[in-house]
């Protein structure tokens, strides 16, 4: 990857016209922050409202698949790309992404959320609470909190 992952996610956000994109400098070491972000099954349900479960299928961890289970038991199949500092998840309805890079003693962390253009309006409404600027900030704050918890 020739550009840093956060810069790359910024380009993806521009390309997707993402409704949610936020980035922030988190005053914790990269390893500690990325340990939270990359633990998709363990941490995503804490980070994403209304996500009950994110079940990764066994197999390739860099290019895998997962099933997201919503509050009413609704299921959405995701393709997942995961590598150090980079995570991209896509279903037929929605795209999610996270990126991290060392910055000084801290970590620059970014999150992206977008609906697929083919997604129908009711679906977009369903996902609306998950998107937007405030939601992005909240996501970043939760990542930081979860990362602090891990250190203890």
């Amino acid at each position: 990857m020739s550009t840093d992952p956060v810069a790359r996610l910024r380009v993806m956000a521009a390309g997707l016209g993402a409704a949610l994109y936020a980035e922030e400098l988190i005053a914790l070491p990269y390893e500690q922050v990325w340990a939270v972000a990359s633990d998709l099954a363990g941490e995503l349900p804490h980070l994403v409202p209304l996500l009950r479960e994110f079940r990764l299928e066994p197999g390739d961890t860099e290019r895998g698949t997962a099933v997201a289970v919503g509050p009413l038991g609704t299921r959405d199949a995701f393709e997942v790309r995961l590598s150090p500092g980079w995570c991209l998840m896509q279903s037929g309805l929605i795209v999610g992404g996270m990126a991290a890079v060392r910055e000084g003693d801290g970590t620059r962390f970014a999150v992206l959320g977008a609906t697929r253009p083919s997604a129908l309006r009711p679906v977009q409404r369903m996902y609306a609470p998950l998107l937007g600027r405030r939601r992005g900030r909240a996501f970043l704050r939760t990542v930081e909190q979860r990362a602090r918890l891990r250190a203890n």
Binding site: A7, A14, G15, E79, R81, A114, R116
Partner: protein
């Protein structure tokens, strides 16, 4: 297989790459983030290759601004097979803009210009640090002309259209560089001296 930066050759030898790229472009235009991710991987070396000589002191910024411009506008690209030419247009514009933002331009010395003979390196996709150093001392538009004509092999008319100048301007800038080059070719380049200044 050709490096991604080269872009597909005009003679069709890279038609497989053309097709792969076009398919990724179409999928990315429809909001397929994984295709967009792959396209980004494929096009970044090419964009970097264009930006480095035009914005040698701000390459990372120029690459980022160019990629932002390309992906923001991607949905508007009508013919996915024209992707590389379109990327080149946007990238050169962005790279010139970024370079102008920070560049303190001063004219190049003739003995520096002579060394631009190494701009097109045989089989080597990277410019030498020495050539980059010389380039960084040239006016931004001069760099852009050299990149388009010498590295990208565009004709005068295409280079002029892309830069928004008259073909005669491209011709005269290039002519000046080449005549300086020829005049100085027989003289030994005093590489050590230049660095001592």
């Amino acid at each position: 297989m050709a490096d991604a930066w080269d872009g597909p050759a005009e003679d069709g030898t890279d038609s497989a790459l053309w097709e792969t790229t076009a398919a990724l472009v179409r999928a990315a235009q429809q909001g397929d983030a994984l295709a967009m991710d792959d396209l980004l991987t494929q096009v970044t070396p090419y964009v970097t290759r264009l930006c480095r000589p035009i914005a040698p002191l701000d390459t990372a910024d120029a690459v980022q601004e160019s990629l932002m411009a390309v992906f923001k506008a991607l949905r508007g690209l009508r013919d996915p097979r024209a992707f590389y030419g379109w990327v080149r247009t946007l990238t050169v514009r962005e790279a010139v803009r970024v370079a102008r933002r920070t560049a303190v331009e001063r004219p190049a010395e003739p003995d520096e210009l002579v060394r631009l003979g190494g701009l097109r390196t045989d089989g080597d996709t990277e410019l030498s640090a020495d050539v980059r150093d010389v380039l960084s001392r040239l006016p931004v538009h001069y760099r852009a002309v050299l990149v388009l004509r010498e590295l990208e092999g565009l004709d005068e008319r295409s280079a002029a259209r892309l830069l928004g100048v008259a073909p005669g301007t491209v011709k005269s800038r290039l002519h000046r560089a080449r005549s300086l080059f020829r005049r100085s070719w027989t003289e030994p380049t005093r590489q050590g001296e230049r660095h001592e200044h």
